[in-house]
Structure formats: structure tokens, C-alpha cells
Symmetry: C2
């Protein structure tokens, strides 16, 4: 609705399919498809960790839609989110004006060794896929320097029995860095580590890329508006980088985008103990509302 001199714009609240990406890769899939970064057919053909097909699952649960991706092109995209990290709490800030977002590299490694008896196979003759996997996990820490974060969140052994040397291991590697050069260097270092471990342990290692997103810089004018709106309400605010991936990074491909963070207690998320105080959530929502109002007021179109 028109209000004073400002131009009215339709407000759209969107819930994108598969932001988390745990079952179907890549993560932030819905917003990526909407922004044209991934074809619809390719996304719908994605195979889940349980062997299911995304398109079939969306039809099954009634979430499949007929609207063509990219139909709605926003004038601006704002995303309010809990920080999921310790920075705001540590600095006593109520609002984070997110100016950029880390690049993300997800890979799945499959290691093929030779299953054998734990009691009868001499240590020197083993091709232990589990031991090779552990060497990659510990070796990754040496790569996680100067701002790179490295995580092995999933690791499974086969046959996973107490008295059997592992014949195979599957693990995931999550690398993140706000700097594209460092992220690419970490990926290259991982490839070197994988080759070294494969040669020394007598195992074969195959690498599959699950997701790869370059770091994103949000719209500077929007970030400044968030900062100003928080200051106007007397809320301590700081500019920051998002460690997590968010749909905003995909929408940034097609419109000015930015994010507002509110504090996460103890920096904990992806854990049942995740908590943000109600008043912190309200503060974030008020800043969001203020920024949206400011954008409408700034519109100088004929209405």
C-alpha cells in the first residue's frame, strides 16, 4: 500500500527448498536454482544420502511447484538469521551487519582398502581404509590456517566391525574461507594430502565434488542501511562475515542483498542447545522492518 510519498512494492516471504543440504547436495539448492546457478532438472535429479530422488520426494510430500525458477526477481533481498557463531556475543553486539560470506567447498571422499582380519594381518601388510581416513582428518587441521575452516562431519567405515580392518571408508570434507585464493589453496593442499595418504597406505581414494561456492560480497548500500538502522535504535552493531552459507548468497546473484545477524548463545548452533533470546530476535526483526521501510521511503518512482 502507498504510504506518504513512497512507492509501494509487493512484499514476498520465501521458503527455499533444501537450504541445509544434508540429505541432498548442494545446500541452498532452492535459492541457487531460483537465481539461475543450477538447472531445475539437474536439481530435481539430485540423489539423496538415502538413495531417494529429490524431484520424486518433492512430489510425494506435495512441495513440487509449477512456477518457473527466477519468475520473482526482487528489488532487494534481506535475510534475518541467528549468527550461529560466537562473534556478536563476544563483542557485546546486538546486530551483525553482514557484509560478506565465506566461500564453501564440499567434497566426499571414498577410500578403498582391503578388509581383513584384525588379529592375523601384519601391520605392514594392511591396506586400512579407516586408518587412511583418520590421517586425512588429522592432516586437514594443518590446512586450516589463516582463516580457512576445515571439518570432517561425516565418516563411515565398512564393514564397521570391531575385529575387521576397514575395507572402505567414506568421509566428507567441508572447507570454508572468506578469501577465494585461500579457499582454492586449501583445496589444492587437500588434493596433495589425499594423494600422499593413498600412496603411503596402499589405498585408492576417489573425490566427488558436492558443492562449491565462491565467497560473496553483499550490497554495500544495504549493509550501510542495516548499520544505520541498528544505530538509530541504539543497538550495538558490527560489520561481519558470515561463516555459514545462506540463501542470501544465491539471491545476491540477481539483486542487491544483505543479511542481519542476531547473537547465538555460546556461539552454538546445529545442536539442540542452540538459543537466541526472544528480545534479541525482536531487535533483529525491528531492524529488518526499519531497513525495508527505509528502502520504500527511498523509492522515487512514479508509484
Amino acid at each position: 500500500m502507498p504510504r506518504g510519498s513512497c512507492r509501494a512494492r509487493p512484499l514476498v516471504v520465501a521458503a527455499f527448498t533444501n537450504e541445509e543440504g544434508v540429505r541432498f547436495a548442494p545446500d541452498m539448492m532452492g535459492s541457487l536454482v531460483h537465481a539461475g546457478g543450477l538447472g531445475l532438472a539437474e536439481a530435481l535429479a539430485s540423489i539423496g544420502t538415502d538413495g531417494t530422488v529429490l524431484g520424486e520426494e518433492l512430489r510425494r510430500i506435495g512441495y513440487a511447484s509449477s512456477m518457473a525458477p527466477g519468475t520473482i526477481r526482487p528489488a532487494a533481498y534481506l535475510e534475518l538469521h541467528v549468527e550461529q557463531g560466537p562473534v556478536l556475543e563476544r563483542d557485546g553486539a546486538a546486530i551483525g551487519a553482514v557484509e560478506d560470506l565465506q566461500g564453501i567447498s564440499w567434497q566426499r571422499l571414498r577410500i578403498e582398502g582391503r578388509a581383513n582380519h584384525a588379529g592375523t594381518t601384519p601391520m605392514a601388510l594392511r591396506r586400512d581404509a579407516g586408518h587412511a581416513a583418520a590421517r586425512i582428518v588429522t592432516g586437514l587441521r594443518a590446512l586450516a590456517t589463516g582463516g580457512t575452516a576445515a571439518t570432517v562431519g561425516s565418516l563411515r567405515l565398512e564393514p564397521d566391525a570391531i575385529n575387521v580392518i576397514s575395507g572402505a571408508a567414506v568421509l566428507t570434507v567441508d572447507l570454508r574461507d572468506p578469501d577465494e585464493g585461500r579457499l582454492a589453496a586449501a583445496e589444492a593442499a587437500l588434493a596433495g594430502l589425499v594423494a600422499e595418504v593413498a600412496a603411503e597406505e596402499g589405498v585408492a581414494i576417489t573425490t566427488e565434488r558436492l558443492a562449491r561456492f565462491q565467497p560473496v560480497r553483499f550490497d554495500p548500500a544495504l549493509v550501510a542501511r542495516i548499520e544505520q538502522a541498528a544505530a538509530k535504535r541504539g543497538l550495538p552493531v558490527r560489520r561481519m562475515t558470515s561463516g555459514a552459507g545462506h540463501d542470501a548468497q544465491m539471491l545476491a546473484r540477481i539483486c542487491p542483498s544483505a543479511m542481519i545477524f542476531v547473537p547465538s548463545r555460546d556461539g552454538i548452533s546445529h545442536n539442540p542447545a542452540e538459543y537466541t533470546a526472544p528480545e534479541a530476535l525482536v531487535a533483529g526483526a525491528e531492524v529488518l522492518l526499519d531497513v525495508v521501510r527505509g528502502l520504500l521511503d527511498a523509492d522515487q518512482g512514479p508509484g
Copy 2:
């Protein structure tokens, strides 16, 4: 049946419950209970990896028996088995006269860290249970020296998701050594490693003992009979240590016991590729028969 001057003895072929021990610990459970090394009630109360109770499962599948453990006390116990290792094949021997058997130590470690977001949690603030587990796996190799074998066959992360730092990890450790002093030293070294990793990674680690058997020396007279029987048939024979645990080590508590090994191709076992040639199996069975006949012939009792 009496034959010539020898005394007749009943021949018993036994199949002991739960020799492998993958679902219910400890392994070699049936023979251990029969030999008096573990109480029947305690064994039947064993909880499986799937949460089931052994006694209930035995009743369910019709394998529960009313015969008191130890009812049958053999005059001698002989076990024919594939080697499951590479020694006989490497040495061109057809028969192994097994004179001793490694001690076995099985432990389960549970590591409690803190689940958190892989992108937002600084490397220095992590309490990554999966990383701690990998450090134990790689550190174990340094303990596996001078005859000790060390294996982590099972390792599971929680929640096991690509973008979540592991809040918990559960792994098993299988330590074996033919020398009790070295085995105990390896256990002590593992405890030191666990304490070091717990302190440095900020995680809590609890250790549960699943099985512990000292090395066993088989009956020297029986071992000599096996050696002689093989030689009499012109079969290349060598004395050796069993790397695997076997029911014979439990029966050795209550009667003269020994084992006959036949070669495993490529030393592979606990793997679908496990293979022993039919003629090698026949050779082992013939040596077994010869030794049993010899024992009966040696009996000087009144019959």
C-alpha cells in the same frame, strides 16, 4: 567303537554360541562360558550393538539350551581352522601346528565433544569429537610395534552430517600380542594417548572394556602330534602363533587343546574374498583324523 587295542571315546562336535563377538561382546562367548571363564547369567544378559539381549535372542531363535555349562569335559580338544593370515602361504606350508595364541584386548571408547556449525565455529574454539577420534586412530599405530597389532574397525560420528562438527564419536580398539607384557604395555600406552587427546581437544573420553584374554599356550604334546601327523603324510608343516582368537583358547582352560591351520589365499579373511583350496581343507581334515586316531591308540585304559 573299540578298534584294535585302543579305548573308545565319545566324539563330540560342538558349535559354540557367538564365536565372532561382533554383535554381543565378548567374542568366543559360548566356549568361555563352557570353560567357566564367564558366568552363564552374565553372558545371557549381554546387550547387543542393536540393543537386544543375548538370552532373549537365543530363546527367540530356538538356540537356548538347558545343559549346564561345563557338563562335557573333553579328554582333548582339537580345532581345525583356516589360518586367516599370510604365514602358511608365504612359507609354502600346508599345515600349521598352532602352539600359542595372541592375547586380545577389546575396548570401546566414547568421546563427548560439542556439536556445532562447521562454518561459524572458529577452529580454536572447537571440541570436535571426530577429530579426537582420528587422533586416537593415527596415534595407535605408534603403539603397534614389536609384535602388537592395533585396529580400529568401528568408528561412528554423531550427528554424522557434512556441515556439523561432531558432538560425539564411538570407536573400538582391538589390541593383540602373543606376549602378555607387551599387550599390557600397549593398553597402558593407549590410556596415555586417550588422556592426552582428551586434554588437548577439550573432549571427555570414557573407556569400556569389552573383552580381555591373556595369550594362551597350547598343549605341547598335542602340538607335537599335529606336527608328526603332517610330516607322516608328507605335508610341509610349521609351528605358528594364532593371530585370531578361537574357541580352542577357552577349552585350553579345562583340557589339553591345540589347533590345526590350513592356508588362506593371500592371507585374506573376514572378507567375501576369503578362500582356501578344497585340497588344503582335505589335508587339514586328514591331519585332524590322524591325530584323533593317534590319541585313541595311545589310550592305555581298561576300555
